[in-house]
């Protein structure tokens, strides 16, 4: 497993989309961050293996996203951290504390759910203060903390509203404030943005990241949306069939996928027939260095991102443009090559107007090492 990187590296590069908010309460910021370790977690539902000996380390203060297709076990893993799932085997650690057998009510975690989870019979302020009421904190402290956190999520003026009087995005903000009010050791986010529309989703995503950085709280974020995971997390873990395929920084995951599954799942990846030589690979009529350890010589597939292919109009070129999809600065072309191979290429929109469907073209991979997968591997 790769070592946990210094948290916060992604956010420093992020543009501040969210409107300015109040600073997080000082006592929440001063909490020492707690690391989370999953050790050989196994969970079976009847004949289905949801977690298959899952190992994962989340560093204190890190924002880790678990990404994967439906049914890959990411939500089960999150629920095991929360205490809602008791693993058949394996252990859950918060730093050096084994919390495997501790019920959710005593784990000291905050959680934001996919479905709207505010208590409908309580006002926004009462919702935020619920955890403190359970902990028998006095009324003044509860009111003060609720006000601070509602200020933090920009909803101070909605304190006396009821959940049904809020939009979906506002409800999830309140749920975040409620989760943070009890000063949890770990924050768990179970696809909290999936019910929101695109614009609110981006705004709230950035806001969650801002608050996480400000508090320095260890956060595990489950999502099936790769753009969401790559844009906010320090590291992303890609899961498949109850196991982690790769845990890496967003850059590494995109540029250096460890497996064919990760390559195919994160972003778009072309699989182009190739022939492996001694340290290099030949495809689309050119030779390129092999990225990473080269498999044995023989037939293979070169894995190439759409933006790493160059397309030029050429009356004698072997390819034909099949479709053209304009998306702002970039246009995606689908090009049919001989032998039934089809590739996708992203070209700058400016100057590509001539590349219409039916245009003969030449496709050339960019001058950079290529990732290779032996031909006998199934993705």
């Amino acid at each position: 497993m790769t070592a946990a990187p210094e948290p916060g590296t992604v956010a420093a590069e992020m543009p501040g989309r969210a409107p300015a908010r109040a600073a997080a309460p000082a006592d929440l910021r001063e909490q020492p961050p707690v690391g989370v370790r999953l050790e050989g977690l196994t969970r079976r539902y009847g004949g289905v293996l949801a977690l298959d000996g899952l190992d994962l380390d989340v560093a204190g203060g890190e924002f880790l996203a678990l990404l994967g297709p439906s049914g890959c076990g990411k939500t089960t893993a999150l629920r095991a951290i929360a205490g809602f799932e008791v693993p058949d085997a394996g252990r859950v650690w918060f730093d050096r504390r084994d919390v495997t057998a501790i019920p959710p009510s005593r784990r000291d975690v905050g959680m934001v759910f996919q479905a709207y989870s505010l208590f409908p019979n309580m006002t926004v302020a009462e919702n935020v203060a619920f955890g403190l009421r359970v902990r028998r904190r006095d009324k003044a402290e509860r009111a003060g903390r609720a006000a601070e956190l509602l200020e933090l999520v920009g909803l101070a003026d909605r304190a006396q509203r009821y959940p049904h009087q809020l939009s979906g995005g506002q409800q999830q903000r309140v749920a975040l404030a409620r989760a943070l009010a009890v000063a949890p050791q770990v924050l768990l986010l179970d696809e909290p943005l999936s019910a929101l529309d695109a614009q609110v989703r981006v705004q709230l995503r950035d806001e969650i990241r801002r608050i996480q950085l400000e508090l320095g709280i260890t956060t595990v974020f489950v999502t099936h949306d790769q753009a969401e995971a790559l844009s906010v997390a320090d590291r992303v873990g890609v899961m498949r069939a109850g196991r982690l395929e790769q845990v890496a920084s967003p850059d590494d995951l995109y540029e250096r996928p460890a497996t064919a599954f990760v390559a195919g799942f994160v972003g778009t990846m072309n699989r182009i027939p190739a022939v492996l030589g001694d340290g290099d690979v030949e495809f689309l009529g050119v030779r390129r260095e092999v990225l990473g350890a080269a498999p044995a010589a023989g037939p293979a597939f070169a894995l190439v991102r759409p933006e790493a292919l160059e397309v030029e109009g050429d009356p004698r070129g072997p390819g034909r443009v099949v479709t053209r999809t304009f998306s702002g600065a970039v246009t995606r072309l689908t090009v049919a090559l001989p032998d039934g191979v089809e590739v996708q290429a992203d070209v700058p929109s400016a100057g590509s107007q001539g590349l219409t469907p039916g245009t003969p073209v030449t496709v050339t991979p960019a001058e950079r090492p290529a990732l290779v997968e032996p031909a006998d591997l199934t993705p």
Binding site: F84, F113, P120, N121
Partner: protein
């Protein structure tokens, strides 16, 4: 547009929603609307004519119309005692049925969803089994058990169950009879609420299970709980067969007893009892409507 095209076009779309076909459509709608009113009127008459006849029977006198019989109800012999007893039986039945069924329904929803068909079936049994069969069985046990266990605390318990002032045995039987209504009312509420997410949210915030039930589940199921409570109360206030066969006097058996000597009083009390039940049901409906207005989602 050429004349030819226009002619073709008109011919092509005329049957698909031009001006001409709208009239028959509207007429058909009017016809359906009229039928609705007819059905509504027949139903209304079916319910209101017997009620109006009962009211007329209680208020007419040789001197005209009088409400004497209604004003005499509170002081009628046996009214306070039997109405009070039925209310107490109703309250105890509601309490026990809810204590039994709220945790059951929540448990089935959250932890044992595979048991839902079984629980549904079990709660249907009181509807499938004729009350007479149930009460004959209960009477046999009550007749046999005290003698068999004579001299033991169990025999004392059986005697206590049959105390005429407050016959607990009726409460136990009524709880069984109310199960189908209580379960369905609560189940409808549970299915409409995101109970799993709400309870998990409360748990992760540190709440114990009793706290989750009191602070989250009960308020969310408020309308369902009220529904179940009022339906049970209505059932107990109107139940005659079981009380009569087991030989206990309750509000319904008292009404039947006085019917021979004071028929107008008996009918007046029945009318009031019916109006009380309707008022309770309207109250549930109003509460439910208010909740829907508060929570359009």
């Amino acid at each position: 547009m050429s004349a030819t095209t226009a002619g073709t076009s008109t011919a092509g779309v005329a049957g698909a929603g031009g001006v001409a076909p709208e009239t028959p459509v509207r007429a058909a709608r009017r016809g359906r609307g009229a039928w609705r009113w007819v059905v509504f009127a027949v139903l209304g008459l079916y319910f209101l004519v017997p009620l109006a006849a009962s009211v007329w029977f209680t208020v007419r006198s040789r001197d005209g119309v009088t409400a004497d019989v209604y004003t005499s109800i509170p002081t009628a012999e046996g009214f306070t005692e039997n109405f009070g007893r039925s209310l107490a039986l109703g309250a105890l039945t509601v309490l026990i049925a809810l204590l039994l069924m709220v945790p059951t329904v929540v448990l089935v929803e959250l932890r044992l969803p595979r048991l839902r068909p079984l629980v549904e079936l079990l709660t249907l049994v009181p509807l499938l089994l004729p009350p007479i069969a149930l009460v004959v069985g209960v009477r046999s046990v009550l007749a046999w058990a005290p003698e068999y266990f004579l001299g033991t605390p169990l025999a004392e318990a059986f005697f206590a169950l049959q105390e005429p002032a407050l016959p607990w045995i009726l409460v136990l039987v009524y709880v069984v009879l109310a199960l189908p209504f209580v379960y369905r009312a609560l189940d409808a509420g549970v299915r409409g609420a995101q109970l799993r997410t709400l309870t998990e949210a409360a748990r992760v915030l540190g709440a114990s299970w009793p706290r989750v039930m009191l602070s989250v589940v009960l308020p969310v199921l408020r309308t369902s709980v009220l529904n179940a409570a009022f339906l049970t109360l209505a059932l107990v206030l109107g139940e005659f067969t079981v009380a009569n066969i087991l030989g206990f006097e309750t509000f319904p058996t008292w009404i039947v007893r006085i019917a021979g000597s004071q028929p107008r009083l008996s009918v007046a009390v029945s009318v009031l009892s019916l109006l009380l039940t309707w008022a309770l049901l309207l109250l549930i409906s109003a509460l439910d409507r208010r909740r829907r207005e508060e929570d359009p989602a």
